[in-house]
């Protein structure tokens, strides 16, 4: 809604998270968004609310308290068993009008990127996509939304002073979830779907689940990523062996993906996935900014490159100067013998 004065503004409070569901299950990105929402709400002295829409979700909704939610709105209906953007947007618009959240964040996933813009337009609000940082302006309490622009070469900070709620999407694995505290509890609010939400909608005819659409990083805490320096699919076999030895997952730069050595779903970076693992081992990746934005929040970055002067070798915690085809087999041997 357009806000004309500060009295209007003060009617809006609390930070909302739109839960992300896949195959009827709440996804970890929801916990990450709750983590970000918790620190925003603490600064604003307000509450964290989550909205869960689906079928057979009530049980799961309770788990969100542990991750920082104070209240969870549950909307359960047979019409929400598939993803119908039009119904979900219409419900959200009604809930926003009723409860007036100050901030609303959603996941920048296939579903979030379909749903949140529809909500933003219908409520006359701005929306900042793919934020990497969310903060509060200490002067006026506005949400400061930072995202990469121009291919990741600059970071732009955006605000929406005259509209409430302030809306943003965040990609998976960008924010950090809180350690779950299972002693926390909260309030469940039940809301219904109204017939008016379902006037103009699509009909879902068939649904297939397949995990080929995205790489499952699972719980891997070490990523072994290869770039142009890996030279071909055979090079990635060496990386897979390395990954198997440390219980890690394989990833790639765009140069490797564009060369057809590994599918796109393995790409990290601005136009690929984002990771925040314990360790990231970049093998033959020079570290252009578009790649860095996808992995620079990993705890320990290790680079293996022949060239000691690449950007990746500068930002790495550990930089190994050498030929990856010589060094990696030695690492595998060393690990295997220990």
């Amino acid at each position: 809604m357009i806000i004309s004065d500060s009295k209007d503004k003060s009617k809006y409070s609390n930070v909302w998270v739109v839960a992300e569901l896949l195959s009827g299950k709440i996804q970890p990105v929801t916990h990450e968004l709750l983590g970000a929402a918790s620190s925003l709400a603490a600064t604003r002295s307000s509450q964290v609310w989550a909205v869960v829409m689906g079928l057979g979700i009530a049980e799961q909704a309770h788990s969100l308290f542990a991750f920082g939610a104070d209240k969870v709105i549950v909307v359960e209906d047979i019409r929400l068993s598939g993803f119908i953007d039009e119904i979900e947007a219409s419900i959200m618009v009604r809930l926003i009008e009723k409860y007036k959240p100050e901030i609303l964040i959603g996941a920048a996933t296939a579903r979030g990127r379909a749903l949140i813009p529809r909500i933003a337009i219908k409520t006359n609000c701005g929306l900042t996509a793919d934020c990497t940082e969310l903060g509060i302006d200490p002067e006026n309490g506005d949400l400061l939304q930072t995202r990469p622009a121009f291919g990741g070469n600059i970071m732009a900070t955006i605000r929406c002073s005259n509209h409430r709620p302030q809306m943003a999407t965040v990609r998976p694995r960008v924010m950090k979830a809180l350690e779950p505290d299972y002693s926390r509890s909260g309030e469940i609010i039940r809301e219904n779907v109204q017939d008016s939400d379902a006037l103009k909608i699509k009909r879902i005819i068939e649904v297939y689940h397949s995990d080929q659409a995205a790489v499952n990083l699972g719980d891997a805490q070490i990523i072994i990523a290869g770039g142009r320096g890996v030279k071909g699919p055979a090079g990635f076999e060496i990386l897979r062996k390395f990954a198997a030895e440390v219980g890690g997952a394989v990833g790639a730069s765009r140069a490797a993906v564009d060369s057809g050595w590994i599918p796109y779903s393995y790409q990290f970076g601005q136009t690929g996935q984002t990771v925040q693992t314990k360790a990231y081992i970049a093998c033959g990746i020079s570290g252009q900014i578009q790649h860095l934005v996808g992995m620079q929040s990993c705890e320990v970055i290790i680079a293996i490159d022949k060239n000691p002067d690449t950007p990746m070798m500068q930002i790495a915690d550990i930089a190994i100067v050498g030929d990856l085809f010589e060094v990696i087999p030695e690492i595998i041997t060393n690990l295997a013998s220990n």
Binding site: S23, F83, D85, E86, A110, R111, R113, A114, L115, P117, R118, A120, I121, N124, C125, G126, L127, T128, A129, D130, G151, N153, I154, M155, A156, T157, I158, R159, C160, K200, K202, R203, I204, I205, E206, Y208, S210, D211, A213, A214, V246, Q270, K278, A279, Q288, I289, Q296, I301, P308, I315, A316, D317, I318, V321, G322, D323, E326, E330, I331, N334
Partner: protein, 262 residues
């Protein structure tokens, strides 16, 4: 089937070089191209028209030079083009852009289907397609990787999600946004190129489409960029390991243990 394909002209950022000193994009000599996803949107529009009849209208909001991208779409086989160009559109964010495009689609009239690219490579927002649908209050399907079927009243599409796909059916009018998997774009024909040279492309301003002045351009945009900065540096001390491959491996494995990575 009356189809509008929305195309955006964008800087060819994949060809961008970064100035090593300033760490900024070198903008000089950067070509303006049709947003790569939109080429697939144009192709899908043409294929649907060829199958079901009707026409393909390409629509773009942007400066005068966006005419080039519209002509490119004509060379591929689109029937006509409209440019939305007006000083008052300047500074539009995705809210104002989708409002302006929606008003133009309204003005074109009797449109069955709007096709957009999944996202534009300059902003990467993927908001304008659903934004148009929301402004018009039409149904939408995003991340479409195949049109399964269509008739004069409805369309059936396959959408991609992180956990798989679904197939859904929508009555017209509707908006879809397409992935690159959806088709293989054709190359322009000689006939198409001649048509592109000859065609008159009308330029519409906010007055032509009846857009309310407070909803367009910078004034109509809820978002404001308040600051731009280089990406934050990582504050670390790099430990450099050099020597024989065995030495490097030994030292690295020791680091794994010290830093409790393994």
């Amino acid at each position: 089937m009356k189809i509008v394909v929305c195309i955006k002209q964008v800087p060819a950022t994949s060809e961008a070089k970064i100035d090593p000193e300033t760490k900024r994009i070198v903008r000089e000599g950067l070509k303006a191209i049709m947003n790569p996803f939109d080429i697939y949107a144009v192709e899908e529009g043409i294929q649907l028209r060829d199958k079901f009849g009707g026409e393909v209208i390409v629509l773009s909001m942007g400066p005068e030079k966006a005419l080039l991208s519209l002509r490119e779409a004509i060379s591929l086989g689109a029937d006509r083009a409209i440019l939305l160009s007006d000083k008052a559109f300047g500074g539009s964010d995705t809210w104002a852009t989708s409002y302006t495009l929606a008003k133009a689609i309204d003005k074109i009239g009797d449109v069955d289907l709007v096709i957009c690219g999944k996202q534009a490579i300059d902003g990467d927002t993927a908001q304008v397609g659903p934004g148009i649908a929301a402004h018009l209050d039409w149904v939408q399907a995003t991340y479409v990787l195949r049109v399964e079927d269509a008739d004069s009243k409805s369309i059936k599409v396959k959408r991609m999600h992180e956990d798989g796909y679904d197939i859904c059916e929508m009555d017209f009018p509707a908006v879809v946004t397409v992935l690159k998997d959806i088709n293989i774009p054709r190359v322009p024909t000689l006939k198409g190129c001649l048509a592109a040279l000859k065609i008159e492309i009308p330029v519409w301003t906010h007055a032509h489409i009846g857009a309310e002045i407070e909803k367009i351009g910078l004034d109509g945009s809820p978002t404001r960029v308040v600051k731009t900065a280089p990406p934050p540096p990582r504050n670390i001390i790099t430990k450099r390991i050099e020597g024989s491959p065995q030495d490097c491996a030994n030292q690295l494995v020791r680091e794994f243990r010290i830093r409790s990575i393994l």
